[in-house]
Symmetry: C2
């Protein structure tokens, strides 16, 4: 579809290059840009450039950061001996909101999923191994998602780190707080039984 | 969801402001920007700014243009006495590809649809009326979409222009070329019968 403006066609092409944006949506977005206030369009363009200019991954943990070392890694009140391994930066935010965790994090940026062609080398794993080998870390909590690839990833990392003699644990999987047994799926119920904890 | 980068949160907010982009997609887009080459991100940002700086609507017909008057309206080989009225700039492109039409266009940027709260004042109609009143236009072809709101819009414009003594026509609706009667819906078949043309 060639519009009478090369610039507009170009913007549609650029939008269509983004993940999960099809041709139709790209057109809708481009026409939206054409319609909105100049200020709003410029704000989006600037936001893109600023992220590209100033946001990167933390050199130590792989989390989102605006400096070499992220806020979590450079916070001296956080315990560097405990590292919680998660798949995504959004998981760091979710876990930290609980206020229950004062250690550091490690962000894998994905999980191992051979069916999708993602192996151990495709996630941020080498730096975790190097970090653990450096000797400060004494405990690793595996907080990857409780789905097929997240479980596989936890299993893989656990076996990888086992020889280094650390405490390795996996977050508990079970019935979510506030929910009904009746509506829980079978694998969650099975896992809840398997992971039952003694009451003192 | 507050990431450890204000700039990233800001970009997510900006993406989420776009139509048909939800919070989840906005996050995916922002992380995509974080991941891609600097060059690719900058290209998108520039494309947005360039459209905002240099693309506008044609002062005469409302079509996409990079100057005061669009390429169609300023093309002296096109017949200014015939105006084809369409809903969207993309319709101009589609019709012009046929090579069957040498007149000019008028882009409404929508259709009349009271159920969606869009009346005659919400589309680019006043300028069509002014254009026709100026006297050059002798024929108007209504090429709005053959759906409820497009038909209503065609009907409305037809009644509006009737007193001005022009030729007013509506594009033919019927069975698409290359398709089977068997698979055509009933209202298309009914319209095809109603609009039958004598064979000489």
């Amino acid at each position: 579809m060639e519009y009478s403006s090369r610039l507009l066609s170009n913007l549609i092409d650029e939008f269509a290059r983004l993940p999960s944006i099809g041709r139709k949506t790209a057109q809708r977005l481009a026409f939206h840009i054409l319609k909105v206030d100049r200020e709003e369009a410029v704000r989006l363009a600037r936001a893109i450039e600023e992220v590209k200019n100033s946001v990167r991954y933390c050199a130590q943990c792989g989390n989102i950061s605006e400096s070499e070392m992220c806020l979590m890694c450079s916070d001296s009140r956080r315990n560097p001996a405990i590292v919680c391994v998660v798949e995504q930066p959004s998981d760091v935010v979710a876990l930290d909101k609980t206020g229950q965790y004062q250690g550091q994090y490690h962000v894998l940026h994905g999980s191992i999923s051979p069916l999708d062609g993602r192996g151990p080398d495709d996630i941020n794993l080498a730096s975790l191994l190097a970090r653990v080998r450096a000797g400060v870390v004494k405990e690793v909590i595996l907080a990857t998602n409780p789905n097929v690839s997240g479980e596989a990833t936890a299993m893989y990392i656990s076996q990888l780190l086992q020889p280094l003699g650390l405490n390795i644990s996996r977050i508990a999987r079970g019935i979510p707080m506030g929910s009904d047994l009746e509506y829980s799926d079978q694998s969650t119920l099975a896992r809840a039984l398997e992971g039952r904890q003694r009451m003192e």
